[in-house]
Every structure is written in structure tokens, then in C-alpha cells.
């Protein structure tokens, strides 16, 4: 071998080694890059007062951020918070309709944000049970300014923020007590067929049948439906009989007060399932209502003017506008729930206080979190997040209300930030349709519907169903939660099968028998006992139905 060839071989080997080395480095870097993401900016010296703290905050993502505005965790409003707020905030976006899964995953991987916003009260309780929440009493007493004032103004916030151990874990906001679920009926159809607004279940059935069979839209075709039965409409039809055990939504709450005691009701469920079965047999409802889990199909029928009675979730002006566009003559009113043998009831109203925020037990810098909570409650934040920048998105009217400068512009630049205002009190001059400056014609109509709903639903003599609103019920311990959810799921499926399966009263009786059986076998008696005991021990302190109406009245006076 000549020298030349030898050196060539050596250099070739060297080159090879270099390549290996480079490859190794690349892999190492890639690996480091993967783990790098999890070390988030926590801010080291949180305790020092002069240094600006840094925290993470959760924020729902409903997929409504226009691409020109960036993303939910990085847009003009998150930037505004970081420029104008007391601390640096890194937002963690959470898909709105998969929020529990996302939070569960974040907690399990120890990446949950410092300040957590979630509406679901059962989930709040679950986090408390799992010891993931930080008690806030001392923090509020020592460091809070704005939120402390709120607590003094609305003592119910304090009550609702407490957990079993008597400490405060939740922060929330005051809200005007207003109708939340509406039962809407086509007044023009009633007039055309010469019918009155139904006052009893029998009349309701007759009206629904007439709407289905007598061609109220006058197009000569048999294509109308009497009433919705899925989602909100279904929930309301259960409420009508005074039961909180609903077939849609998350509230299967069958407990009622009888002679000052909490009992598990079966009679009301029975009557309500029997009635819904009659509606189904009469062909007055969508045959496929079971598969219409979130009421989208019902909404479509309603807005296309083919449905006579529907349930609405909040003041849904959008659907009303769509209906008016398709059927300009449509006339819609909110109707009181028909009176049954169990009395007169109202559908769900909004809760006067709503607990939305929690602090992660492992938050590194609780003081900064408290600063953020105070900031979110303060006027500067609430006004800006609600109305935008003064002079850019709105201007003030003489009486201090906000008037949008360009509603179209606000639709893209402002409306996606709604979930940043989960601590904004929903009352006063800038809240609600009624206070809107220059409402559109559809909004004006809806204000009328709203007034009817207030009249029909806000009267304490026609109360909401149950012992109290779901948010104020005590949380079940883990093992009872398992019993409750598992048994209820089976019973709920059986109820649906009874409605669809027909077979009249006998089938309904069989359903109740089977349901009781399922409930007993699962150990449901323990759940019943838990609520009964809670009521006996806490009826003086707890927020019960009367208190809710009382709080609503108080807030109204304060406005």
C-alpha cells in the first residue's frame, strides 16, 4: 500500500467518523428539543414584589378566532393583557367542548395552568376531591383588592366559592338572574289554526298534533313538526313535570323536596316519560330525536320554519334572524310551561352567581395569580374585553353605555374573546340585549320575547325544579359519583327506549320498575341518603331555591 492510498483511507475513515458524530449530535439535539417544550416559563423569584410575575392561564378555544387575528392564545387581546396587565400571562388554550379531557390530560402530565377557568361545577368538585386546587382565603385576605370588594358586595360569591372543608377554592362572578332556557312557540301558527297557547299537557299534545297534521305553514305539504324533543326542548318538557332528571344535557337530578325532606322522585319522571311517549306516538316530534344529541337538527327545522315549538338556549338571536329570513311572517313568543298535576314550573334560569375560576395547587406564584384575578375583575379589563378599545371599537353614549362603531368589524376583531371575560360580572348597563345601543330589528323583536320570558319564568310561584340549582348542590364523593353516573346512564338509555318503543302506560310502568331496580342494584340508596343528609344539615346555610330568587331581586335593586 502506498502512502497516498493509506492517507486517503485514513481521511475517508475520518470523514465517516465526522458523519457519525454529526448524526449523533443531531439526534441528541432532536431529543433535547422534544423535552424542551415542557419547561414553561414559570418565573423564578415570584415572591419578590418588584419583579413582574409570570403565570399561565387557561382559555377556552371555540375555534372562532379569524385567521387574521392569530390564535386563541396569541391575538390582540392576549397581547393587550400582557401590555396592560400586572403580570405576564401565557395562555393555554383548551378546546371548549373537550375541555374536561384536555384538563385531565394537563393535570395528569403536571402541565395544568396556574389559573384555571371551567364552567362545569361537577368538574370543579372533582379537582377539589383530587386535591388539585389551592385554598384562597389567605391569599384574598392579604393580597386581593378588587376581588375582595366584589366578595363584600355579593356575599353569595363567598358561599358558592366554598368547598366541603369550609375553605374558599373558587372565584366567580355575579350575574343578573335572567331566563336561560326558553320554550318558544310559533304564534302565527296558533292564530292560523285558531288555537290558544297550551296551558296543560293535554292542550300541548293537541297543539303539537295540530301543528303536525294541519299544514300550518300552508305549503300544501305534510312537512311540519309539532314540537322539538331533543336537547333544550326535551329538558324543558321534563322540567314541566317538575323533574330535574333530563334526558339531554348533564343534569340528571331527580331529587325533590317533599314535606321538608329530600327524596328521590319517580312519579314525576314517570309522568314526563309517559307524556313524551304520547308525543312520539302521535308523530308530533322528530322520529330521530334520539340521535339529535345537541339539538342541531331541531334548530335547522326551526329556522327553516317547519317546527312549531322549540327550546332555546339563552337569547338566540341568530336562530331567530335565520327564521325571519326564511319565513318573514313568523311570529315567535315565549310561552309559560303548561301546568301539570305536579304544579307549575319554570325552565332553568341563569344562576345569580357563577363560579368559574380556580387556582392550581401547584401554582408557583399565587400572588401573581391573585393580581391577575383582580385585574380581570377590574373595570379597565372588563370594559375593554367586553366592548373593545374606546375610539376603535366603541364610543360611549351620554348615559355611559357602549355603542359599537362598526358592528361588522367587532364581529371579527372582538367577539372571539368572550371567554376571556369569565370573571366579568354580567349585569348593569352594558349587559344584555335590553341595554344595547341601536338594536337591530331582530334584536328588538327578541327583547319582546325576553320580556315575555321574564314574565313567564321569573315568578317564584312557578319555580325552577329541584332543591336548588345544580351549581349549588353539594359534590358527591368519588365512589358515589361512580354509582350515580353509571346508574343514570343506564336509566337514561331505558327512558329513551321507552319513549321510542311505544307500548303505552304498561311500558312506562315497566320502565319505572326496571329503573328503580337498576338504581337499587348500583347502590343508589347511598346517593339518595347523601343528599337527604346534606339537606338536613345544611338547609340554613346552603343556597336554596328561595335564596336564588332573593339574590336575583337584590341584584336588580342594586343596578
Amino acid at each position: 500500500m502506498t502512502r497516498k492510498r493509506l492517507s486517503a483511507a485514513v481521511s475517508a475513515r475520518k470523514a465517516k467518523q465526522a458523519v457519525y458524530a454529526a448524526l449523533t449530535v443531531t439526534f441528541a439535539l432532536a431529543a433535547a428539543g422534544c423535552s424542551g417544550g415542557s419547561t414553561n416559563a414559570e418565573g423564578e423569584g415570584g415572591a419578590s414584589a418588584d419583579k413582574r410575575g409570570s403565570i399561565t392561564v387557561s382559555l377556552y378555544d371555540r375555534g372562532t378566532v379569524p385567521s387574521s387575528e392569530g390564535t386563541m392564545d396569541n391575538n390582540r387581546w392576549t397581547k393587550w393583557v400582557n401590555e396592560n396587565g400586572p403580570v405576564d400571562v401565557k395562555y393555554v388554550s383548551v378546546p371548549r367542548f373537550e375541555s374536561l379531557q384536555k384538563f385531565n390530560v394537563l393535570f395528569a402530565s403536571r402541565q395544568a395552568p396556574d389559573l384555571i377557568f371551567e364552567y362545569d361545577t361537577a368538574y370543579q368538585g372533582q379537582l377539589y376531591n383530587q386535591k388539585q386546587l389551592m385554598p384562597l382565603d389567605d391569599l384574598i385576605a392579604q393580597h386581593s383588592t378588587e376581588y375582595k370588594v366584589m366578595l363584600e358586595k355579593y356575599p353569595a360569591l363567598q358561599k358558592a366559592g366554598m368547598m366541603e372543608d369550609g375553605k374558599t377554592y373558587l372565584v366567580g362572578r355575579a350575574m343578573a338572574l335572567t331566563p336561560h332556557h326558553y320554550l318558544l312557540i310559533r304564534k302565527d301558527w296558533l292564530d292560523k289554526l285558531g288555537l290558544d297557547v297550551p296551558k296543560t299537557p293535554e292542550e300541548f299534545l293537541a297543539v303539537a298534533e295540530a301543528f303536525t297534521q294541519k299544514d300550518p305553514d300552508g305549503d300544501g305539504q305534510n312537512n311540519t313538526e309539532g314540537t322539538g324533543l331533543s336537547f333544550v326542548a326535551g329538558i324543558i318538557l321534563n322540567n314541566m313535570y317538575g323533574t330535574g332528571f333530563t334526558l339531554f344535557g348533564e343534569d340528571q337530578i331527580p331529587w325533590v323536596l317533599e314535606n321538608g325532606q329530600v327524596v328521590h322522585d319517580w312519579d314525576r319522571i314517570r309522568a314526563s316519560i309517559a307524556f313524551q311517549q304520547k308525543l312520539y306516538d302521535a308523530g308530533a316530534v322528530d322520529k330521530d330525536f334520539v340521535t339529535d344529541k345537541n339539538g342541531e337538527k331541531q334548530k335547522q327545522m326551526w329556522t327553516s320554519g317547519k317546527l312549531g315549538i322549540t327550546g332555546s338556549n339563552g337569547a338566540d338571536v341568530g336562530s331567530y334572524e335565520a327564521l325571519k329570513q326564511n319565513v318573514p311572517d313568523a311570529e315567535v313568543i315565549a310561552m309559560a310551561l303548561p301546568t301539570t298535576e305536579f304544579g307549575s314550573y319554570s325552565p332553568t334560569l341563569s344562576s345569580p352567581v357563577q363560579m368559574t375560576g380556580m387556582v392550581n395547587a401547584s401554582a408557583k406564584d399565587p400572588e401573581s395569580v391573585m393580581k391577575m384575578i383582580d385585574f380581570m375583575v377590574g373595570e379597565k379589563y372588563t370594559e375593554t374585553i367586553q366592548n373593545g378599545i374606546e375610539g376603535v371599537h366603541y364610543e360611549k353614549t351620554e348615559d355611559g353605555r357602549a355603542k359599537a362603531i362598526d358592528p361588522e368589524k367587532n364581529k371579527t376583531e372582538l367577539e372571539y374573546n368572550r371567554d376571556m371575560s369569565m370573571l366579568t360580572p354580567l349585569l348593569g348597563k352594558n349587559y344584555g340585549l335590553k341595554n344595547k345601543v341601536d338594536p337591530t330589528p331582530a334584536e328588538q323583536d327578541y327583547i319582546k320575547i325576553y320580556d315575555e320570558a321574564v314574565e313567564a319564568y321569573m315568578d317564584p310561584s312557578r319555580p325552577m325544579v329541584g332543591i336548588t340549582q345544580r351549581a349549588y348542590l353539594p359534590l358527591l364523593p368519588q365512589n358515589l359519583t361512580t354509582i350515580n353516573t353509571n346508574a343514570n346512564k343506564t336509566i337514561l338509555d331505558m327512558a329513551m327506549q321507552t319513549i321510542v318503543g311505544g307500548g303505552g302506560e304498561a311500558a312506562v310502568d315497566k320502565f319505572i320498575g326496571d329503573a328503580k331496580n337498576v338504581w337499587d342494584k348500583a347502590g343508589g340508596a347511598q346517593v339518595d341518603e347523601f343528599y337527604a343528609k346534606w339537606y338536613v344539615e345544611n338547609k340554613d346555610d346552603a343556597i336554596l331555591m328561595e335564596d336564588i330568587y332573593e339574590m336575583g331581586k337584590q341584584m336588580k335593586q342594586e343596578e
Binding site: 457519525y20 448524526l23 439526534f27 374536561l100 379531557q101 385531565n104 393535570f107 395528569a108 368538574y123 372533582q126 383530587q130 386535591k131 388539585q132 322528530d286 322520529k287 330521530d288 334520539v290 340521535t291 395547587a361 368519588q478 359519583t481 361512580t482 353516573t485 353509571n486 346512564k489 343506564t490 337514561l492 338509555d493 329513551m496 327506549q497 321510542v500 318503543g501 342494584k521 348500583a522
Partner: protein, 321 residues
């Protein structure tokens, strides 16, 4: 899944043949193959990090898992979770449903791709074959949310099928609310979505059959049918066996998406399966330990099924290992 154990086996042989761990690293064979080993490393890392390490998390099936105490700190509860699972009437039904739906999917769904592949193979006109092939495997690329939406709309009582049925018999039929018809729809939609795509593998196997066999057979007077029976099917038999073993491994895991988008309350007696239950109770309800126990049970059954299938296949000399 398929490649890995095989690789490990070969790896083991090699180590053994070169006589001991220590010497192997100095052999010429190792040195010349160093780039290959280096490229193999990420694969090993992938399996270790994403497939083997997470298995340790299964211990929560024997614990009362809370976020606060974490996977390792949570309290041991022994077999409590399993006990709770198997005393609930619901769980047994869910396991039964899972088995039933998946076995039916395998038994009924399995032959379709094979038949499709053979039929496509027999088509003379190339353009027709290509067009049909593309069309039948297209649904594979739709998500189940879309396919489920289509199926539910078509078979609803106000849907397309019922509109036709009503014209014929005057009576609509609640396909989605009847357990029998629901299962048929479930299986049918699965076949419609995936048969075309699964056929690709058989089509590939078909190309490896020596054409001279067909020529010889036709000279001996074998018709199309005979050719299929005696040449085509034996030719792709090894592929069929491998696909069957793989399918058996999936028997306990009925795809979550398909069931989830198609199920409804009325047929919950048949449509609630392990994966949807884990989603509803575990991920949404936060009962991680209970559902981990169910998941572990599911994997165990699937593992036994794979072993059984392979044992059967080995009898016929077609075993995977």
C-alpha cells in the same frame, strides 16, 4: 408490530451465533453495519419510549389514582378495581358487546377485501380496474365523523333509505333503533369504508404470482373459477394468514370512532363498547383507575387471541413466529 418481534428474533440469533455479547461489538460484521445500526437506533428508542415505557402506567389499574399523588404515589388497592368492574352488570355487557361487534367485523369483514382484490385482478380493461380501485379505496380517507354523519342521515327515519322503503311498503323502518339492523349498518359501513384500502395489500400479493402458472392451468383446461381456487388463493394464502393474525390482535379494540359516531341510546344494549365506555367514564368522568383496569383486561384478551391464532396458523405451517 409485525416487524419488531421478527427483528428482535433475528437480532438474538445474530448475537448468539457470533459467540457472546462482547465479541459481537468487535466483529467485522458489526463494524461494516454500523450505519444500519445507527439508523435502527431511533426505531428502538421509539418503541422503548412510546410503546414500552407507557406500559408501566398500567399499575394504576391496581391503585386508586389521583392527580395529587401521581402514578407512583397513589394508594395500592389490589384487585378492587377489577372487582368493581366485574360486579357491575353493565361491564359484562360492554365486554360482550365489544367481543360480539369485533368478532363479527373480523368474520364478516375479512373476506371482502380478498374478494375485491381477486375481482379487480380479473378485470381486463386497465382503465376500468384503476378507476374502480381508486373509487373503492377513497372512503378510507374520510374520517369516521363524516362517514358516520352520512350513514346516520341516510338511514334515519326521514332519510333516503326510508323514503324509498315508504314508497315500496308504505312503512318506514327505524334502522338505527333496531339492534339487528344497527349491527348490520355498523358492519356494512365498516366494510364500505375500509375494504377497498385493505384490498391493496392483496393486490400487491397477487402480482407476485407467476403468470406462467395461469398459462399452464388454462392449457390444462382450467376455467377462471378453477384458476382462482387452485392458483390465486394458494398464492396469496400467506398474506391472508398474516392479515388474519393481525386482525385477531385487534379483536378486542373495536375502533372508537366508528362506534362512537354511530351509537345511540336506543341500541345502547349492543352499541356500548369498551373504548366508548373508557372515553365516557375514564377521560370525561376522571375514573382513570377503573378504566385502566378495563383497558388492561382488554389487552390481555387480545394477547391471548393473538397467541391462539398463531398457534393455529403454525399447525398449517404458516405461523408468524
Amino acid at each position: 408490530m409485525k416487524a419488531n418481534p421478527a427483528k428482535n428474533v433475528r437480532l438474538g440469533e445474530r448475537t448468539a451465533s457470533s459467540g457472546g455479547e462482547r465479541r459481537f461489538w468487535h466483529t467485522q460484521r458489526f463494524k461494516t453495519n454500523r450505519p444500519l445500526w445507527l439508523m435502527f437506533l431511533p426505531v428502538v428508542a421509539f418503541y422503548l419510549v412510546f410503546k414500552y415505557a407507557p406500559m408501566a402506567g398500567l399499575v394504576i389499574a391496581f391503585k386508586n389514582y389521583t392527580f395529587y399523588e401521581g402514578v407512583w404515589g397513589s394508594q395500592w388497592v389490589g384487585f378492587d378495581n377489577f372487582q368493581m368492574l366485574f360486579t357491575q352488570a353493565q361491564s359484562l355487557q360492554i365486554i360482550r358487546n365489544t367481543l360480539l361487534l369485533s368478532v363479527l367485523s373480523v368474520v364478516i369483514g375479512f373476506p371482502f377485501p380478498i374478494m375485491l382484490a381477486i375481482m379487480l385482478n380479473e378485470v381486463r380493461r386497465k382503465w376500468f380496474q384503476k378507476t374502480v380501485q381508486t373509487l373503492v379505496y377513497l372512503p378510507h380517507f374520510f374520517s369516521w365523523v363524516i362517514v358516520g354523519g352520512l350513514v346516520v342521515t341516510i338511514f334515519a327515519q326521514s332519510g333516503l333509505v326510508n323514503a324509498m322503503l315508504e314508497r315500496l311498503t308504505g312503512q318506514p323502518f327505524a334502522f338505527l333503533f333496531n339492534e339487528g339492523s344497527w349491527v348490520a349498518i355498523f358492519l356494512g359501513s365498516g366494510i364500505w369504508k375500509d375494504a377497498g384500502f385493505s384490498a391493496i395489500i392483496y393486490l400487491a400479493a397477487l402480482t407476485s404470482i407467476d403468470p406462467s402458472l395461469y398459462e399452464a392451468a388454462s392449457m390444462d383446461g382450467a376455467g377462471k373459477w378453477k384458476q382462482i381456487r387452485h392458483i390465486t388463493l394458494p398464492g396469496i394464502a400467506p398474506t391472508i394468514v398474516i392479515m388474519l393474525i393481525l386482525a385477531m390482535g385487534r379483536v378486542m379494540e373495536v375502533g372508537f370512532d366508528q362506534v362512537y359516531v354511530l351509537q345511540n341510546s336506543i341500541v345502547s344494549g349492543i352499541s356500548e363498547v369498551i373504548s366508548t365506555y373508557i372515553y365516557a367514564i375514564g377521560l370525561q368522568g376522571g375514573q382513570f383507575s377503573l378504566t385502566a383496569a378495563l383497558g388492561l383486561f382488554e389487552s390481555l384478551v387480545a394477547f391471548v387471541l393473538v397467541l391462539l391464532t398463531n398457534a393455529v396458523a403454525r399447525r398449517f405451517g404458516k405461523g408468524l413466529w
